[in-house]
């Protein structure tokens, strides 16, 4: 080292810096934002076309009298009329809000229980051996099965609905976190340990953020399960004092043999489920994945 040539070392750093700057510039890819027209033709147009096609086929089935019985298949116009009527009477938002508020509150409780539970199962070997298999088994149990016992235990009330939502959503959320933790690359754990992130520090700084994509996938599924469980509970345990949610609306339609009302309820259940996913969970998932470079654009 002592014999380092001073003239080269004085000249070299400049050269090296320039070389390095060139390499960095060559290897860095700049991506601009996609123009709105491309977003429109690639993302918005296809689902609109698909929905229009379904509506066209539906209308054709009615218009050409392929299904000639309005009690079996009402026309799209008839269903629209029912929805429009409910809107004019100021009931539509009431149906939706009754169910959505229940669903989101239930989901929030499921989040509070499922997250620590998932972390325990993922990190404590005894807990995993004890309840891990039951937790993943519970996912395959249709949550509608919980409605009869919940009614017997809690009666026909909102608590019963929340119990059914919890039993449906908690396993999804916990399992999502468990698989997120299981998929944390060992390299991150080793790198964390050499930096001094062990024990609780390691869980907080390395394991949890690394498990976030799996956790968010679990949340997304947890919401779907919450919504499904709630609809099952509302259909089965429909009771006037509970207020009319979308599930009760469906059941009321069946009791009145009003097929247009049944269709109205089904379409609203579907629309709300999709809307919550599109407005909350998909953007969350995209943000998590994109910030890690896991979502490849084109």
């Amino acid at each position: 080292m002592a014999s380092t040539d001073t003239t080269t070392s004085a000249k070299d750093p400049g050269d090296l810096a320039g070389l390095e700057a060139g390499l960095d510039a060559l290897e860095t890819v700049h991506r601009g934002r996609k123009p709105f027209r491309r977003t429109f033709t690639e993302k918005i147009l296809p689902p609109v076309v698909a929905v229009a096609l379904v509506l066209a086929v539906w209308q054709a089935l009615v218009s050409f009298r392929i299904v000639d019985d309005p009690t079996k298949l009402p026309s799209p116009g008839a269903v629209w009329d029912v929805v429009h009527q409910a809107w004019l009477q100021g009931e539509l938002l009431g149906y939706i809000w009754t169910s959505v508020s229940r669903g989101l509150l239930g989901f929030f409780f499921a989040l509070l229980i499922g997250t620590p539970l998932g972390l325990l199962v993922a990190r404590v070997r005894f807990v995993r051996a004890a309840i891990g298999p039951i937790l993943s088994g519970l996912q395959s149990l249709p949550s509608v099965a919980w409605v009869p016992p919940a009614v017997i235990w809690l009666g026909l009330n909102n608590q019963m609905m929340y119990a059914v939502i919890l039993l449906g959503a908690v396993p999804s959320i916990a399992n999502g976190l468990v698989s997120g933790v299981d998929q944390v690359p060992p390299l991150f754990l080793r790198a964390g340990r050499t930096l001094g992130a062990t024990g609780l520090k390691g869980t907080w700084h390395i394991v949890l953020p690394a498990a976030l994509p799996g956790y968010v996938a679990g949340l997304k599924q947890g919401w779907a399960f919450s919504w499904r469980s709630l609809m099952a509970a509302e259909i089965i345990a429909s009771f006037p004092d509970l207020g009319v949610g979308l599930g009760q609306l469906l059941e009321n339609g069946r009791n009145a043999s009003d097929m247009a009302m049944v269709f109205e309820a089904i379409l609203l259940i579907l629309t709300v489920g999709i809307a919550i996913d599109l407005l909350i969970f998909s953007p969350l998932e995209r943000w998590v994945l994109r910030s890690r470079g896991l979502l490849v654009k084109d």
């Binding site: 290897e27 080793r190 790198a191 930096l195 470079g293």
Partner: protein
Amino acid sequence: MATTLAKAADGTEAATHAARIEHVSKSFAGPAGQQLVLDDISLDVAPGEFVTLLGASGCGKSTLLNLVAGLDEPSGGTITTDGRPALMFQEHALFPWLTAGKNIELALKLRGVPKNERRGRAEELLELVRLKGAHGKRVHELSGGMRQRVAMARALAQESRLLLMDEPFAALDAITRDVLHDELTRIWHETELSVLFVTHNVREAVRLAQRVVLLSSRPGRVARQWTIDIPQPRRIEDAAVAELSVEITEELRGEIRRHGQH
């Protein structure tokens, strides 16, 4: 041993060794019973010294590095290091949920650096690896060479006296690797770190190190050492580097050949 280290006058060893590996062995439970991976390895790294560990597959060089890093326990012998060493991997091992700068700041935070000093220190370290302005960049926005430089900055943030490097440039293209060799040499000069660098690339070993330690395979033993006095800055294509590389490669091939003879 090519280098004999004198103990300090007061008998303390902390200052005379960045790492001291004494009679270390390591075996793992394999399909055919206990398998000896490292056999009686003794090796010292002096403060400020740059040592490369060279060997073919199965020589246990990465295992040895893990032991020095404290990620695993030796089956026999002792390892003492001057504080907790920093470790760089073949993969950059940067955390993708943090920006380049925040990766460095996490290392500072875990070392107990107060919050208001972290940002400035991270900027300094990024400047040291010539990535000024990359603080807010996401890991996936950086090229392979830039990622390894951020990883180097993160390792330096630990302020260890000893930097362990496990084939950190093996996955890079030749031009980038060449540039990073220059960078590493420069940073090593500026920081007076001790470096223990594992590689299977003979030229890389000769290009970088003051001392090359050749390990034999299965089990890993210290086969031979070379002290390199070719003046820095060296280039990988220098005649002197090439000449010594030929000699070491011959020896390495001899070690590998022995395994085909029974």
